[in-house]
């Protein structure tokens, strides 16, 4: 029964993708229906699975099948060879049961919302096809029972992300952002790939159930454990947009907004944190790895939050906020509490996708991403959207008793136990979060309306497909918070700290942005030094550009010159030219003048005669 359900979840996305591809051109308009129906099927199957295994009953379940034999005594002289086969399979345990429910449910709501958002787009079929393929890859990643299969689907979600960021590929910026996302992820994945290969070679199994701290520590020396852990973590840094690989995520906002909600906030970018939790023993086996994770997480959280404070583009604010929240989750794992990290992942997934879809409502209606413009065009008149925006932002900044409060508190507690330095960093991140959340809300909600845009007349189906997902995601974020909490407890000190941060961050934002018009004037008038640095994004993008253009491509250019001039020119062409020159020289002998021929013949004859006489005399 479980297996059937798992296959249903796994394959429904692929089925939708293939069905949509096979549709004849005249029937392409039913593509959304196929996508929505099959994503509903997957969500229903995972809900059934969740109910079947409520309270972790009968878990974990594993189904495994050999895929590829790589046994070879030459590579592994000392270890029994039978173990070296690569497997594919499902592993179902409480962790990915939660995750798969999250992925399939958000997928479904985003597909539903996309019906409204992409209603006027002519390439709708392609869009829903890719979205379904994403669901397929993401479920594969979540259900996988070993590192290699995870990597396989890891790359496939990267591909769908590439295809969907570049969905409007006629736009130069979209095509460039898509390529950037793929290449930056690839860079990080090199480490992941190498890490997997090292684990396979040195440890002999990639199965998550075999990767246990003790077993690892028995086989591998501590330095190798750290190396492997950090290498695999590199992959996480790419996918979960950790510093300094976070640069692709804000640019990824070139994709359609529902895509940002699904892939670039809730599911795919969370895959890294999911893997941290999934293979936690691989990382926790070395204290150094955990420290690296904690530091990277802290740096990411700070960078993301700081950059979110000055953006004008609604989606970019949310994107940097995602970066910062992912940093917090990573910090939790680094502090040794992967449960807290994962809990925040699940609540964050719901309220962040809610926020993105809400921003989609604004963008769809006002045709701009700029929060000031949205405010001036009458953003506050869309009561429903404003309500959801407030709900999402308050969740994000951690107002009790909304979703973000519980999970963020758990993380703060975990970090506080570990290290006070990082704790203060995390507190500052929370402060900045409250600040940019309030700023965004105030600018939209308190804008003075200049040129109001009337909403389009919308059919009932469109209205349903717009509002139902928002409502459900908001509800689910609360459900996830209350049901998913690892252990209920009430920490009064934490409550006070959070409240103080919320008040001070929010208060500062109110102070500065209670009148958005004036704030904008002030902003245009002059920029402080800090603002300039923030606008250049801490020069990280510039550093990448320098490395790629001035270093990488310069080397490639030099090598290309070398190939053309030295190898092709000197080695190949010159050889052939020399042969030709030699031939031309020899051809001089054959000039048609009889006297020359005679002279050469005579010379030759004399030489032969001479040699003959010489040797004749030499022999007795």
């Amino acid at each position: 029964m479980d297996l059937a359900l798992l296959w249903t979840i796994q394959l429904s996305g692929l089925a939708a993708f293939l069905l949509i591809q096979l549709l004849p051109r005249s029937a392409k308009k039913i593509a959304p229906a196929i996508g929505i129906a099959l994503s509903f099927l997957a969500a229903a199957a995972s809900a059934k699975l969740l109910l079947d295994h409520a309270n972790g009953f009968g878990l974990p379940v594993q189904f495994s099948h050999p895929w590829l034999a790589v046994s070879d005594r030459a590579v592994w002289p000392n270890i029994p060879v039978e173990r070296y086969a690569l497997f594919v399979g499902f592993l179902l345990d409480p962790l990915n049961l939660t995750m798969i429910t999250l992925v399939t449910s958000i997928s479904f709501f985003v597909q539903l919302f996309s019906f409204y958002y992409m209603n006027e787009d002519r390439s709708r079929a392609r869009y829903f096809g890719f979205l379904s393929f994403f669901s397929f890859s993401m479920t594969g990643l979540v259900l996988s029972n070993n590192l290699l299969q995870t990597f396989l689907f890891w790359e496939l979600v990267g591909l769908t992300s590439y295809l969907l960021i570049g969905f409007w590929y006629e736009k130069e910026s979209a095509a460039t952002a898509a390529r950037k996302a793929f290449v930056v992820n690839r860079l990080a994945d090199l480490g992941f790939y190498l890490g997997i290969i090292l684990v396979l070679i040195l440890f002999g199994s990639l199965n998550f159930t075999d990767l246990k701290s003790q077993a690892l520590a028995q086989v591998l020396p501590p330095a190798t454990l750290t190396l492997v852990g950090v290498l695999v973590f590199l992959g996480v840094m790419g996918k979960s947009a950790q510093f300094p690989f976070h640069v692709w995520l804000p640019d990824a906002m070139e994709g359609p907004t529902p895509v940002s909600a699904l892939i670039h906030s809730a599911t795919m970018v969370a895959a890294g944190v999911f893997l941290l939790h999934r293979a936690f023993d691989l990382f926790s086996a070395s204290a150094t790895t955990l420290l690296v994770i904690l530091s990277v997480g802290c740096l990411t959280a700070l960078t993301g939050a700081a950059l979110a404070t000055i953006q004008r583009d609604m989606k970019r604010i949310l994107a940097y906020s995602t970066v910062s929240q992912l940093g917090l989750m990573t910090m939790a794992v680094g502090a040794g509490s992967s449960t807290a990290g994962f809990f925040h992942l699940s609540t964050h997934a719901y309220f962040k996708s809610l926020l993105f879809l809400t921003s989609g409502v604004f963008i769809h209606r006002f045709h701009t991403n700029d929060i000031w413009e949205i405010g001036q065009k009458g953003g506050k008149n869309d009561r429903l959207a404003i309500g959801f925006l407030a709900f999402g932002l308050l969740s994000l900044s951690g107002l009790p008793p909304l979703a973000g409060f519980f999970s963020k508190d758990l993380i703060l507690e975990a970090i506080k136990e570990k290290n006070l330095f990082f704790y203060s960093g995390a507190l500052f991140v929370s402060f900045l979060t409250a600040y940019y959340s309030f700023r965004m809300f105030l600018v939209i909600a308190r804008g003075r309306i200049r040129r109001e845009e009337r909403p389009h007349a919308e059919s009932r189906a469109l209205k349903i497909s717009r509002n139902v997902p928002l409502l459900c995601l908001a509800t689910l974020s609360l459900v996830a918070a209350f049901l998913g909490m690892p252990s209920f407890h009430f920490n009064f000190e934490m409550l006070l700290t959070t409240a103080a941060i919320l008040v001070s961050g929010g208060g500062l934002a109110i102070l500065r942005f209670r009148d958005p018009e004036a704030a904008e004037q002030k902003l245009l008038a002059g920029k402080t030094f800090m603002q300039k640095i923030l606008e250049r994004k801490f020069f990280i993008d510039d550093a990448y550009e320098f490395l790629v253009k001035k270093v990488g491509l310069a080397i490639a250019h030099a090598l290309n010159r070398f190939d053309r001039t030295v190898i092709n020119g000197l080695m190949v062409n010159e050889t052939s030219f020399s042969v030709m020159r030699l031939g031309r020289l020899a051809a001089l002998l054959q000039n048609g003048a009889l006297q020359d021929y005679l002279a050469w013949a005579m010379t030759g004859g004399v030489l032969i005669l001479f040699a003959f006489l010489h040797f004749y005399r030499g022999t007795p």
Partner: protein
Amino acid sequence: MSPFPILSAILLCPVAGLILVLLTPRKFETAIKFLSLLAASGTLVLSIILCKIFNTADPGFQFVEHLEWIKSYGIHYSNAVDGLNVSLILLTAIVIFCGILVSWRVTYRVKDFFANMLFLVSGVFGVFMTTNLFFFFLFYEIAVIPMYLLIVIWGSTNKQYAAMKLTLYLLLGSALMFAGFLYMYSLPEARTFDLLTLKQNVHFSPPIQNILFLGLFLGFGVLAACFPFHVWSPDGHVAAPTAASMLHAGVLMKLGAYGILRVAVTLLPEGARHWAGLIAVLSLCNIVYGALVATQQKDLKYIIGYSSVSHMGIVLLGIATMTTVGFNGALFQMFAHGIMTALFFACVGFIYDGCHTRMADELGGLSKQAPMISTFFILAGLCGLGLPGMGSFVAELLVTIAAVGTYPMIGITSITALLITAFYVLTAVQKAFYGPVNPHHADFKDLDWLQFVPRAVLVGCLIFFGIFPSVFLNWVSLSTKILLGG
């Protein structure tokens, strides 16, 4: 001898097709095309049957056919398959089938074109299935000559230079290899060209092995575009007509790597071990250098040409590891790369026919205009950058595992090519297929169903073997194991 000589049948299909094409009058162009297609389909069906009935539990030669020809010199017409060549025969059959279909739009000297194609492919089949070194050489020469004609007559872009360069290079390689064959023949205990007899009767002393292996490796290495003997291949690919590029990059380059395994490693294992380090270094140059140079190319065909150099490096690296996993990976990469490049060239050829340019900058927006051909090109590109689910991923994974296990530094460095490849493939895709539609190519038409079929077949193969790699590994792994004497 097996009741039905299936190998000879595979070989005779294109030969029979060739004779029939030659007998058909020039003006019946459609008949010529159908005859060629019939011959190619025949080999394809027979090759698939061969793979089906191939016994994966037997590491030795199967379907042995033996016909004595010049007994006193040990020259026999003898064919056999084992794990090393069964997949390559299938590869050749797939590529020629698709190549014939892709060439449906050839209009200039149709009869000569298809005759040359069939002649070429007969030679290639011969090389892959023979177990006699004399015939190995003979069939190899048969394959080179029509390639020259195909490029010179139907080619483009500096075709005479490229054709001459390619031919000279290939002949240089074959001269080296033939010298090696003759030396082996000249040994007193040998006096035969038969591979199996040589393997059983002759024991080469270590210094001889070292010298002989180096000679043979250089000879075969030229064909496999080993650095620094690679420059013939991008130039040749660019100049050749579409179907010839497909065969050339897809199959002909594999002859070299196949020869290294079949002849050099089989007969001279000690020599191979001796030089393995050098091969590994050269292959690393292929992989990284080829990829870096590819980033600088503007012509789509040059990009693919240098990517071939890079990907053939993976084959050589797999061989250099001298492990079963590495050999399996190398053979897998030969197959996957063969299909992938064939697909690449099939796409670029179609675009060139329609747009009259292959410069990535001068194209642009093709995805909007011609979604099908763009999708095929992008799929080939994804396979090239090692996307899981495509054949190349598994091949590269196996080679990388073996390489990291045997030469850690080289193995780790070779991984960087994954990044560089992703960069240049996606840049080319962005330039040629994304962005606004270029009005110069407004009348460019997408694939019709006839042109759709061969490309779909190639993509299907890539995905099938990417998802079910053990089908392939079952063919090869026993034979590669005995190659190392285990």
